[in-house]
Structure formats: C-alpha cells, structure tokens
Amino acid sequence: MAITVREPSSHWMPVAASAAESDPDLPVLQRIAGGDAAACSVLLDRHLARLHALATRMLGSAEDADEVCQDAFVRAWRQAPHWKSGGARFSTWLHQVVLNLSRDRLRSRRATVPLEQLPEGAHEDTPEHAQGQRDRSLMIRRAMEQLPARQREALLLCHFQGLTNIEAAAVLAVSVDALESLLARARRGLRDLLQGGTEAYSGVPQ
C-alpha cells in the first residue's frame, strides 16, 4: 500500500534538519553587518511571516505581534556583526527572541488584563472568512491557552513553525527527550480539551 506524505499545510515552512548544517542566513548576516539594507529585506522575506505567526499565536493579537517582530528584528540587526557560525542557526535564535519577547508581554499582560478581554487575533482583518472557520480557530486558540506554557510553546514550534525536534529543543533550552515529553502531553491535553468542546458539532471520531 502506498503511504501518502501529506503536503505541508499553510503553517509549515521547510527548515533544515540539523543545526549543524550550514546556516543559510550567514552570508546575509555578513552583509547586514556591513550596513547593507537590502540584506535586511532578504532576512525579512525569509523569516518575518513565520515569526509574526508565532507571536500572533502566542499573544492572540496581531498588533502585539507587530511590536514583538519590530523589537526582534532591531535585535537581529544589532546581533548581525557579532554572530558566530558553528552554533545554533540564526533562525533558531530569532525564534528564541520572539518567544522571549512574547513571554514578557504575556507576563505583563496577565498582571493587568484578563485573557478573555483580549482581542481576537486570528481574523480581525479578514471578515470574508466564514463564521464557522472563525469559531473553530477561536476554539483551538482557547484550548491552547489552557495548556501549560511550555507545552503550548513546544506545540507551536513543532507543529506551526516547522522546527525540527532538535531546533525546537534548542529554542526551549531542553533536551530532545524533554521536548518529546512536552509535545506528547500537549497533544494529549489538547485532544481532551477539544473533544470535550467539539463533540457537539463536529462528529469527532471515537
């Protein structure tokens, strides 16, 4: 029997399998270090959409994600002259920065604003989306918000950001075994939460 390998979803962005491989961002970083503004565009083309999606999923707000991305790329411009090859990939470092900035925002936000009062991030600017799709997306978001932070981050990095297990473990500063444990618990928890919330309308299997 032929086994299908599903095409990557819209969330999926191809990344190399190992941090040990050569980093495709290195030549671009060298140009940025030399003051080449055009090289900044190249780096943005490669990473902005994906990092913005990560921040939006973390924060539930496109405006907050905008600010996080601006801050992250200012740090990237500063980091470029000091970046050394041979360690983690630059994209891994960028994910780490966005994750940390998003965590900071979540912390300060929790001190002031209840989560229920946050704007709906997913489709604020796309009214053409069907109401059903909006509802499902919101339901996933709400379920993910109920997961412990580390589990949610592991799932975001591996499922939506397309990082390999090694890269995601590096971003979260944990071993691959620990990452797998986080992922498995996240998926189990999410399944429980969603099955509780979706049986009513979607005909969930089992």
């Binding site: 029997m1 979803s9 902005l48 999606a53 905008d66 796309t126 799709q133 499922h159 939506f160 299997p205």
Partner: protein
C-alpha cells in the same frame, strides 16, 4: 535505522502528529515502511490525524504589509552601550557649541599660564623671598 514497531510508531504519532515531515528524520523511513505494511499502524495514524486537522484550523492573519517597512526603518539600529552613554554625555556637555570654545580657552590658558607665572615671580623682590624662607625655617626649629 531504528527498530520501528507499532509501539514506537504510536509514540511518534502521539508526539509529532500524523505528518511524516514532522517526525524525526532518522525514524521517518522505518515508520513509513511500517505504515505501508501494517493495517494496525495505519489505524494509529488515522487516530492521530484528527488532532492535526484540528490544529491546522488555528489560522492567524498574515502580517500587515506596512510592518515590513516599519522594521526596515529600524536599520541601522540605534547605538547601544558605551557609545550611547558617550553621546549622551557629549550632549549633556552642550555638544560642539560649548565644547569647542571650552577647548579653545583651555589651549589659550595652557599657552599663556607659564608666561604669567614667570612674570609674577620676576616681579617679586629677592629680599622678600629670603625673609619668607627664614621665617619658615625659624618656625620649624621651635621646640615645644
């Protein structure tokens, strides 16, 4: 090549979901081989695919077009660290408008002061200098 069996495949699916592209590279081929040959393995994958389908519905709006331009305006980045400190100190001191006259004045004083001191010493009578030294000397030898 790892030893793949339904138990390990189930762990892979529970951890990474049903899309082989998300599985660890070193186990992918063996897992696909097992899926091709085992109905049990395919049922496991079917079970995992429901959650992946749910997750794929968590969409977010793309970044607005202006964001890119905003970020590019941040290049080159503002200076940080000691350079910022030095710049702020410079501005605190008044920048070129105050520092240039101050520098010129110090140059002028540096050049002129030795002449003025020499002139003052030359104007002082020699006997006054000797009397002063003698007075100091007497005080020094006074016993308690």
């Amino acid at each position: 090549m790892s030893s793949m069996n339904p138990v390990r495949l189930s762990e892979l699916l529970d951890t990474y979901g049903d899309n082989p592209l998300r599985w660890p590279e070193e186990e992918r081929a063996a897992a696909l081989q097992l899926l091709a040959s085992s109905a049990e393995a395919r049922a496991l994958r079917e079970h995992a695919s429901w959650l992946d389908a749910q997750l794929d519905q968590f969409e977010v709006a793309p970044a607005r077009a202006q964001l890119r331009a905003c970020i590019l305006r941040g290049f080159p980045p503002p200076m940080i660290g000691w350079r910022v400190w030095l710049r702020e100190l410079w501005q605190e001191l008044g920048g070129w408008r105050l520092v240039t006259p101050a520098f010129a004045a110090s140059l002028f004083l540096g050049a002129m002061l030795p002449n003025w001191v020499e002139q003052s010493a030359a104007d002082l009578p020699d006997e006054d200098l000797v009397a002063d030294v003698q007075f100091i000397d007497d005080d020094f030898w006074v016993q308690p």
